[in-house]
Amino acid sequence: MIFLRLILTNLSRHRIRTAISVAGIAFAVAAMLTVVTILQGAVGMFSSLLSADSQIVVFERNVADLFFSSVPQSAMDAIPTWALVEHANPVLFGIVASPTQPIITCFGVTATDTRLTRATWVAGSDAAFHAAGQATGKVEDSSQGADSVVLGERAAEFLHAQLHSTIALGNGHFTVGGILRTRNGFEDGGVFMPLATAQRFFHKQGIASVVTVKLHHPSDAAAFKARLQREFPTLIALEDQEFNNSYSQFKILKATAWAVGLAGVLMGGLGVANTMIMSVFTRIREIAILRVNGFSPLQLTALILGEAAVVSFTGSVVGLGTGVLAVMVLKSVPMLHGYVDATMSPGLLLAVTALATGTGIAGALYPAAYAMRVRPVEALRFE
């Protein structure tokens, strides 16, 4: 009890200094939580975009980014015919610019793609998409006529487009044949083109970026992979979870999130270290008194580290609260719809708290070591 009282007394003695340290850790934790959550949301969105009503993603082996993946027409034609397969949807990813938006994601899909069939249609309908699908031959001549595309709801907002209006994408002009709402932020901010239109527009005739596959029986995944390996050795099939764990872009995003978060926590830890150094240096005499009264170096270390732990843990808790609040606010911003994954697992919260507290305690190691070396007689005589 006295031990805890000593810890709290020391911290309350310099309230502003303590508060700044707590704020430093809190800011780091909140930043880490927010960055990780947003990037996890982005990864989750992309992942769900690929796994829409499917279990397996087929793409080109050893490709660094799915935008560069080429699945040939022969595979697109063959895979749906395999007995194991319930359905297979080819998707071509592309990036295009509009006069007001430098980057818009385009999805070249077939008319039966579940991304379209399961979406909520805000304007237009499947029929509009089917109609657009039949008018694919006009893209090359787009300066003279407009092809039909379907916009995600957010894309319609930032392109200021309505049903039947004409929009400019790249060098072409397209008629908005429909507007749909999905639960996926990427899709909501994207443009859906008929696959053939997209292939021509992006000069990738006969190519898809991926084929998403649903099997009759999920347990047939291994057999599917084996057959793909046998018949199309340049392609690879990964189950959704495998893909999430191995796709290099996801790894980079996750690593970036944790790196940014770690940098923040490290800065917070340095703040705690600074506080503890100041704390130790300004009470050398007090440390000497404790030594004279029988405190061992180990007990003094526990005292200093205990102070750091209280600061770090308090900062972590405040940071978690702030971070959760920030994520909620971001989630409610229309522009970020679908980009923020507000589901924070207990593991994530625990990891962030442990990391911040651990860093704070690590920051107190040097001050603790210094306190252990204090020679009481000198401290009492000269201070």
């Binding site: 009890m1 309350s12 003695r13 008194i289 004279v292 009264n293 029988g294 405190f295 007689v377 009492l380």
Partner: protein
């Protein structure tokens, strides 16, 4: 204390505290403080170290209490040579209490919390520690001030608190460095009387550095130091002050 009683203490028991040939210098030998000081203190004796400022009284007390290490010489406590590290730590927890001229209390804590510090260090159960504190507070007249912060105590009360703290773990040796040096004369007399009463009642051996010869005269032995040396024969016998 009369001389026959002091001599009886000295002759009937083994020394509780011995120092042999203690030498100490600071600043890498540039400032010599002690030159071969030897001393024998017997159980329950009260010993006053007198001498001018800078003669080495405080340094000797620090060496005897293990707060500092001698450059040469040996200290034996209850028959065991004093070694730095764990032995000193255990000695500070269980065998030796310190009282300083400046009380050296933690100002942000209450009287109770300050006094409990040695018991926390020694791992004494709280109930037992509180019982001991109440006992000492009764004897020192501090019972009504237990929850006061140190900042609100008078100088005399602070020194009595320091005395309580030093005695919390029932040490057998009390080392006091000018314990009344910062107090007015009247308070000084009260505190010293209390100190003698407590060490007598608890059977504690007292070694006290002081400038006040009137106070020193009330101890069993008065040892004179000068320029880092014990005056001829002062440390070895049972010479009485009175």
């Amino acid at each position: 204390m009369n001389s026959s009683m002091a001599e009886a203490k000295a002759t009937t028991k083994e020394p509780i505290l011995q120092a042999e040939g203690l030498t100490k210098a600071y600043e890498n030998g540039a400032i010599p403080v002690l030159h071969g000081v030897s001393l024998q203190v017997y159980p329950q004796q009260t010993v006053a170290l007198c001498g001018p400022s800078g003669c080495g009284k405080s340094t000797l007390l620090h060496l005897l209490g293990g707060l500092d290490a001698a450059d040469a010489g040996e200290i034996v406590v209850r028959g065991q040579p004093l070694r730095p590290g764990r032995m000193v730590q255990n000695m500070l927890r269980h065998q030796v209490g310190f009282v300083f001229q400046l009380h050296n209390l933690l100002p942000d804590l209450t009287l109770t919390e300050n006094c409990l510090i040695p018991t926390v260090a020694a791992g004494v159960p709280r109930a037992e520690a509180m019982e001991r504190l109440h006992q000492l507070a009764d004897r020192t007249g501090l019972s009504h001030r237990l929850q006061q912060r140190i900042q609100k105590l008078s100088g005399g009360e602070r020194q009595r608190t320091a005395l309580c703290r030093a005695l919390m773990n029932r040490p057998s040796i009390l080392l006091a460095d000018e314990p009344t040096g910062a107090l007015d004369e009247a308070t000084s007399r009260q505190i010293f009387a209390l100190l003698l009463e407590l060490v007598d009642r608890e059977g504690i051996t007292l070694v006290m550095a002081t400038h006040d010869r009137a106070l020193a005269a009330r101890c069993d032995r008065l040892l004179e130091m000068h320029d880092g040396k014990m005056m001829d024969g002062a440390g070895s016998g049972a010479r009485t002050a009175g």
